[in-house]
């Protein structure tokens, strides 16, 4: 008995050690980027065009490009994803078709991001002749975040208790009215969480936009959705591998802006979820 107690202590110590091995590097990564990136951040850096072949000036067009892409991708992904989630949660039966749909979603979530890039290039840029443009990039990113939005929206819809639906139906509401006025409003926090997580993912991905929208160096703002645009993650890739002699400060500054943008969105999503769970009435 004493022996097995000691084994337990040793085992738990190693489990704790493994956890530290993940947590400490993550903390370090964030601390390093904040520490070295902060000195680069000022109003000029955030609001100015890049200059001298990206070795000076700011990252304004990359920030704007990323915002356009994120909004564009959610514009495509949210309606389709939400309706797909409604189908799975409210209409689908437990049959072969549903099984295949779920499998397709799992697969979409697992397709490598660079393959989405290839797909976007073949379908939107070449086949539909949208060219390398914000439109092509948004559509590609939109398809990539679709599984995130479907999965989290479905969970949110399914967590609405069945009694809500039954009461509404028994009062003479149609199925769609029940969904529209009873189920959806109660699922909004969950849907919002999933949407924000999708936004964060779209903001940080590089590979899908490499050949569909990203401009190497474009010191002006895009004028239409058929324009190319710079984007933060691609800009970070470019200035850290493709352009020699870029000031460390600019690299860290760009990494910090991207990291803060993505982590901020995730934090908002976590907080919404937390608040929602606390206030849940059922």
């Amino acid at each position: 008995m004493k022996n097995s107690k000691r084994t337990e202590k040793i085992a738990f110590f190693f489990l704790f050690l493994a956890t530290l091995l993940i947590v400490i590097p993550v903390g370090l990564i964030i601390v390093i980027i904040i520490q070295k990136g902060i000195p680069a951040i000022n109003w000029q850096f955030l609001s100015d065009m890049p200059r001298q072949g990206m070795r000076a000036g700011g990252i304004f067009p990359a920030i704007i490009g990323t915002i356009y892409l994120v909004l564009g991708s959610i514009f495509f992904a949210l309606p389709i994803g939400l309706l797909a989630a409604i189908y799975l949660s409210e209409y689908s039966k437990d049959n072969f078709l549903t099984r295949i749909i779920k499998l397709a979603i799992v697969n979409l979530a697992g397709v490598p991001s660079v393959v989405y890039g290839l797909f976007g290039l073949a379908l939107f840029v070449v086949f539909f002749k949208f060219g390398a443009s914000i439109l092509s990039g948004s559509l590609t990113l939109g398809i990539m975040i679709l599984p995130i939005i479907i999965t989290s929206s479905r969970e949110a819809l399914e967590s609405v208790p069945n009694s809500f639906r039954e009461v509404s139906l028994s009062l003479g509401a149609s199925k769609w009215q029940t969904i529209r006025y009873i189920v959806l409003p109660n699922a909004i926090p969950g849907i919002l969480t999933g949407t924000i997580l999708g936004l964060g993912r779209a903001a940080g991905e590089t590979a899908p936009i490499l050949f569909t929208v990203a401009a190497f160096y474009l010191p002006r703002l895009p004028k239409s959705i058929f324009d190319q645009a710079m984007a933060l993650p691609y800009h970070l890739y470019v200035i850290s591998t493709q352009v020699p002699n870029v000031d460390e400060k600019i690299r860290y500054g760009t990494a910090l802006v991207l990291l803060v943008l993505v982590l901020f969105m995730n934090l908002v999503a976590i907080i919404i979820r937390y608040q929602f769970r606390k206030k849940k009435k059922w």
Binding site: L15, T19, I22, I29, Y87, A104, T206, A207
Partner: protein, 287 residues
């Protein structure tokens, strides 16, 4: 009128429900459409097992064996690092950690999952790469090992969160039964919980590995990108994903090189398809 409106809406919902299937099929068709053109000039065997990848020399050679081995080497390295640490962390979060710490750890793991791969690639370049270079006294720190370490951190969030779910969904009575029979908590975890959650944990590991194989940016930035047959983990390598990302920008649409990169895309798509279907089967077996 209302009937008609609802009819239209419900059809729209059905269509969107089917959209995922449609998208998977369209992705595959477009990869095939562009990728299969390569095999008009090169045999699939020569493509898969050819030892040289010289896409722009005359005559061009499109053998992806070095790239497959590059991906494999980096992936195996990342798996060796991330599986034990990831599963151990999942056990710690699910079974050992106090409730408050558990919530914080889960949020931390989610944060790690959210860090964009290009940021991890960048931080790997400026911290890990010089460190590997001096530690092993190498001409360059851009090696398969650096890639493996960085990718392990991208696989861990997937492994931890899915394995933790699997442990969490084991019925409480299992553990209580073991404890009631006088087992220590560790014995209950090791002999009862882990076997009961094994298929879910296996799925977690597979999905983590899937994430590693598909990872592009970080790997492109820190593995050195040389498309030669790798002999050691301390050498620069190039993966399948990095090849597409690095070369598609220069490939002319409709050229042999362009087709070859799509053919690599087909290989990647099939690998991820196989991994996800198998992992899904394991997850379903559990229920």
């Amino acid at each position: 009128m209302r009937k008609l409106k609802e009819f239209v809406i419900e059809k729209l919902i059905l269509f969107c429900g089917l959209a995922s299937i449609l998208i998977v099929i369209v992705i595959f068709i477009f990869l095939l459409k562009e990728g299969l053109s390569l095999f008009n000039t090169i045999s699939p065997l020569k493509f898969l097992f050819g030892k040289s990848w010289y896409p722009i020399s005359e005559p061009a050679q499109f053998g992806i064996l070095p790239l497959i081995l590059g991906s494999l080497l980096v992936t195996v390295g990342a798996a060796i690092i991330s599986i034990p640490i990831g599963v151990a962390c999942a056990i710690y979060i699910a079974e050992v950690a106090p409730l408050k710490i558990k919530e914080i750890l889960k949020a931390g793991i989610e944060m790690l999952a959210a860090i964009p791969s290009v940021v991890l690639g960048f931080i790997g370049m400026v911290t890990l790469v010089p460190w590997v270079k001096t530690l092993f006294n190498l001409p360059t720190g851009l090696t398969a090992l650096s890639g493996s370490i960085m990718l392990a951190f991208m696989a861990m969030p997937t492994i931890v969160s899915i394995a933790e779910d699997a442990l969490y969904s084991v019925p409480k009575t299992y553990k209580e039964g073991a404890l009631a029979l006088g087992a220590t908590r560790w014995q209950a975890i090791w002999r009862v919980m882990l076997p009961a959650a094994s298929s879910g944990i296996l799925a977690a590991i597979m999905l983590g590995i899937g994430r590693v194989i598909g990872e592009t940016m970080a790997v492109m930035m820190i593995t050195g990108n040389s498309a030669i047959l790798p002999h050691s983990i301390l050498q620069p390598v190039r993966t399948l994903t990095a090849t597409i990302a690095a070369e598609m920008g220069e490939a002319v649409v409709g050229s042999e090189h362009y087709f070859a990169l799509f053919a690599i895309g087909i290989v990647l798509f099939l690998i991820s398809f196989a991994i996800n279907v198998t992992a899904d089967m394991f997850l379903h077996k559990k229920q």
